[in-house]
């Protein structure tokens, strides 16, 4: 079962490189996404048996992030199939500098997309830290060609930064793995493989100095990939230059994969009773991300970069939540789901807007509600959702985190204040941009066509899910989140 989840997209991806017909390739893409989502749904009912000496197993945290990834990928693949049929075999004029460019071959795009899904699935099912590392680096490598889909020099610059910064960061995480290997000794002083269950059993015997050194390197390595400030520098470039559907996957799924990697580290520290050490790191990185993203969101002129900085902000919220103990961790996990859904929706809509207005500049987009009512309405709904306005899901999760901070008492009031203040600043910054884009009269240059079904359906579904999560968190999901949160928070 686990093998099927990982290998199916990998094989389909290799197949897509070889297939000659575009229609066939897109069929393979959507077909694989549907089967993958179906398998994931089955995992909720029957939990698959661990394989490969328990190196691969689907625990509660894995199941949560696998579901997010698989669901997003299904919707993104539908959008991508429509997008590719529109983009196929055309020369393009660059919208910013007027130069001609073409796209990467579609076979490469779909092949890498499927390999990317395979790598992300491997991240969610890896219990062995070495394997987890291999999978996270795999997501970087499979997604780099996707960012360079539009072949011009800005996307090239973004790809190079992404590759180099993430590879260096992740190389440090590899060193962390070796440190963890040194730290992993049982009570009789023998080393054992760095598999999560074994590490938890022997958590109190681990060598503390090496464990702490490993932890810091893990935060540097996976934190870079997760986009926590001040390690986020690749993120706005990659998100703004990649095709929108890729930005949606990067923001909604990849950042979560790195987050999961750090959650595994947190689980060890909770097991060893040293969570105070990691909590401080989580809170520091969380607050830094919130403050830095707020600074860059104010006065941002490019709406895709705006969304990218909003991702940095939300990763900061996740980090802050984990740093606040079990209650905060519950909120953070819920927020991870909400953020993935909303951000994917917003990036897909940004793709629609870009296709229609041919500009990424906020001030050049006017009258969305008139020009394209459905996209415009969803864009506004997405804005309300991402800034944490009720009745959408993010309101609930942000509120949970805020409450967790206030419940912890004295010292944490400062953190709660910073949290609220930055959220307020970001609300104002985003409101200026989003409301300006939605209102007013559209300029004549916009192409007067209706958005097609594939452009509307995926964001609509995502929006509906966020709304539903805001009104009612389903029982099985809440139980799953509680179960994970208890392994992340430790004793209050």
């Amino acid at each position: 079962m686990i093998f099927a989840l990982v290998l199916l997209p990998a094989l389909a991806g290799l197949l897509a490189f070889a297939l000659p017909k575009p229609a066939l390739r897109r069929g393979v893409l959507i077909g694989t996404a549907i089967i993958h989502a179906a398998l994931t749904a089955i995992c909720w009912k029957f939990s698959p048996a661990p394989t490969l000496n328990e190196w691969l197993a689907l625990d509660a945290a894995g199941l949560l992030f696998l579901s997010i990834t698989s669901g997003l990928f299904l919707l993104a693949s539908i959008y991508a199939a429509g997008y590719l049929s529109q983009e196929a075999n055309r020369k393009f004029t660059d919208i910013e500098e007027g130069l001609l460019f073409d796209n990467a071959p579609e076979a490469v795009f779909i092949g890498c997309l499927l390999l990317f899904l395979s790598a992300m699935t491997l991240v969610t099912v890896s219990q062995h830290f070495g394997l987890l590392w291999v999978a996270i680096e795999g997501t970087t490598l499979a997604s780099a060609p996707l960012i360079y889909f539009h072949r011009h020099h800005r996307s090239l610059e973004a790809t190079w930064k992404y590759l180099l910064i993430c590879s260096v960061g992740i190389a440090l995480a590899l060193l962390a793995n070796f440190f963890l290997g040194v730290a992993a000794v049982n009570s009789s002083g023998e080393n054992f493989p760095i598999v999560l269950p074994a590490l938890l059993v022997h958590a109190h015997d681990l060598q503390t100095p090496w464990l702490k050194a490993a932890c810091i390197l893990f935060f540097v390595g996976y934190g870079t990939k997760m986009g926590l400030a001040p390690l986020h520098t690749w993120l706005p470039d990659a998100h703004s230059e990649a095709p929108s559907v890729i930005s949606a996957l990067l923001s909604g799924a990849v950042l979560n994969c790195a987050f999961l990697g750090l959650l595994r580290v947190q689980q060890i520290f909770v097991g060893a009773g040293m969570e105070q050490f990691t909590r401080d790191i989580w809170i520091a990185l969380g607050v830094a991300s919130l403050v830095i993203s707020a600074i860059f969101i104010i006065g941002q002129t490019d709406y895709k970069r705006l969304l990218a900085y909003s991702s940095v902000e939300n990763m900061g919220i996740l980090a802050l939540g984990i740093g606040l103990g079990a209650a905060g961790a519950f909120g953070a996990l819920l927020h991870a789901i909400n953020h993935s859904l909303v951000k994917a929706m917003l990036f897909l809509l940004a793709g629609n807007i870009l296709a229609r207005y041919q500009t990424k500049n906020i001030s050049n987009v006017r009258g969305l509600l008139n020009a394209t009512p459905v996209t415009g309405a969803l864009w506004l709904a997405g804005f309300l959702a991402i800034t944490g306005t009720p009745p959408f899901g993010p309101f609930l999760s942000k509120f949970t985190i805020l409450k967790a901070a206030l419940d912890l008492g004295h010292g944490y009031v400062v953190i709660a204040t910073i949290f609220l203040a930055t959220l307020g600043i970001i609300f104002v910054g985003m409101a200026t941009a989003f409301l300006g884009m939605a209102q007013g009269e559209p300029e004549k240059v916009t192409i007067a066509t209706n958005d097609s079904k594939w452009q509307i359906a995926p964001p609509l579904v995502l929006g509906a899910m966020v709304l539903w999560l805001g009104i009612n968190v389903p029982e099985p999901l809440a139980n799953l989140l509680k179960q994970i949160a208890s392994t992340l928070g430790g004793a209050q």
Partner: protein, 213 residues
């Protein structure tokens, strides 16, 4: 034991050579030599418990780092028809002095950490850390995309050195996965480099500064 130390000393010398080298071609050759030396490290360092695992790992490392990478990078240099100069931000002498300083700091740092008994040599950890820092230094202080890839390889070699010292604890599957990832990373970076060359007519990263806030 003596072989391990020999290889570690070789590692330090190659890193210093890289920091002071002004030629692209010789830098690629030095990194290749470093890769081969590292490939031999597990074989020589654990000679008393030689197994198929170490053999496979050594063969894979030597093949990829000693043969495939240099071939691929030399091709990149030829295709790009770049001048053979490295073009540093930080001069060669300054780089060398920094290298020596980093070496001293690495040894000082490692004297303060409790070393596990399983490490093959007490020099291993400081020299691994020296390689990592030297790699980082090369990435930030050089303009050319190619030099940055070489820097990444040096950094990765440093991480690998540390890993080899702990070889009994890791496993073939993970090591093979790591090797595969590095291979694909350099492959993708190489392809990106071709495109950078085509797009900008050179492989300087200096002019890639449009995306910022």
């Amino acid at each position: 034991m003596i072989f391990t130390k020999l290889i570690l000393v070789l590692l330090v010398l190659t890193n210093l050579k890289l920091l002071g080298s002004s030629r692209v071609g010789s830098s690629i050759r030095v990194v290749a030599a470093q890769g081969i030396a590292l490939g031999l490290l597990p074989v020589l360092g654990h000679a008393h418990e030689l197994s198929i695992r170490f053999g496979l790992l050594a063969a894979g490392t030597i093949a990829i780092k000693g043969i495939v990478f240099p071939w691929f990078l030399f091709r990149a240099v030829r295709e790009a028809e770049v001048t053979r100069e490295i073009e540093p931000y930080v001069g060669y002498v300054a780089s060398l002095i920094s290298g020596v300083a980093i070496l001293a700091v690495s040894f000082w740092m490692c004297m303060r950490l409790p070393m596990p008994a399983s490490l093959a040599s007490s020099w291993l950890a400081p020299i691994a850390i020296f390689s990592i820092f030297a790699g980082l230094f090369l990435i930030i202080s050089r303009k050319r995309a190619l030099s940055q890839v070489l820097g990444f390889l040096v950094l990765e070699n440093g991480v690998y050195t540390f890993g080899v010292g702990l070889a009994p604890q890791s496993s073939l599957l993970v090591e093979a996965g790591v090797l595969l990832d590095v291979f694909v990373a350099v492959f993708v970076m190489g392809i990106t480099m071709f495109h950078i060359n085509r797009e900008f007519d050179h492989i300087n990263t200096e002019q890639m500064s449009q995306l910022k806030d």
